[in-house]
Symmetry: C2
Subunit: 199 residues, 2 copies
């Protein structure tokens, strides 16, 4: 699947991934990819390359499989109910550690942080997750330094975000970090992200 782009971004999808955890960052990053001189490439992939049924029932067909996705610069790991099974799957956690070792930047959304914690990636590090999942996070790795106020936590090579919609803010931050603030502002304007929650 490689096109030789140095900025290959893989969004991992799985059964029970929360739809907006996947698509918030995907839309931000792929909107950026359309216009950036860095020519980022944004791909979705599942473990086996087959389609997945997300947490609320939406069915996605990914671009490729974990085996075929190739080297990534950024791994985006969404949250959702499906993370509980993955955080208990030793085979999957070994794969997460393997990808992490080869990937400069790993970014979780929401309860994706639970899988990173279970794989040992957050040991002794500051991190965030969905507001209702901090007990689970610390149970998986008591050395994690939970930050329940941040919208996202950038700890260098690992970035974690708060729940669901926070993935949009985190992805805009990734664009600012990978290219610059002006690029991120252009994406924000493109997706008209001037939120006004009505309730």
């Amino acid at each position: 699947m490689s096109t030789g782009s140095p900025l290959r971004i893989g969004v991992f999808v799985f059964d029970g991934a929360e739809e907006l955890d996947v698509v918030g960052p995907y839309d931000v990053l792929s909107s950026w990819a359309l216009h950036s001189p860095l020519r980022p490439e944004v791909l979705t992939f599942s473990s086996d390359g087959q389609g997945v049924r997300c947490a609320k029932g939406l069915c996605l067909v990914p671009d490729t499989s974990a085996h075929e996705v190739g080297p990534l610069h950024v791994l985006v790991y969404p949250g959702g109910q499906g993370t509980r099974a993955l955080a208990a799957d030793t085979h999957h956690l070994a794969w997460v550690r393997e990808v992490r070792a080869a990937t400069p930047l790993v970014a979780s959304v929401c309860t994706g942080a639970l899988v990173l914690a279970a794989a040992g990636l957050l040991a002794g590090r500051p991190a965030t997750t969905h507001w209702a999942a901090f007990d689970e996070l610390v149970a998986l790795d008591p050395s994690v330094l939970p930050d329940d106020e941040a919208r996202f936590v950038d700890d260098g090579d690992v970035v974690t975000s708060a729940g669901v919609s926070a993935g949009i803010d985190m992805a805009l931050h990734l664009v600012a970090r990978l290219e610059g603030v002006e690029a991120a502002r252009a994406v924000r304007r493109g997706i008209q992200y001037d939120p006004e929650p009505p309730v």
Copy 2:
């Protein structure tokens, strides 16, 4: 596909639909459906029931087809580059008018409003769309009353939203309208929608 729910909500998907236009409202409305005593049912459907390739490349497999989706209480019509072809497709516009006549509430996201305008659904009515698409909107129907400041415009049986991410705000408004403000606040808390755009 009907389960007898009086609150059947159909999210129309099509080639070139903007991913976040689809999934923002879908996640809000299906998060609501999980907990609401009104038992809303949220379905995705495409014209022919086949999978679609969204504007940035994400492939979705909908629940059903336009023929099979059955009576809806709410139609959500996303935007995206694919709306330009649909707004010029007389067969599709006839279907939009037919669905509209049988559906109490039609809600567009972003450039979904272009298709509603082309079908004549916005004649003489206030409406919004993506900030870059107002000229197109008025060209399609000069009688539309464009509102370029609102995050969404609720004109009773037709609701339109501004660009892409505005669909999240609009969907929260729909929850508030269909059940109540507390239900919408619970969804907002569930998806941790306390946006803090970092740029």
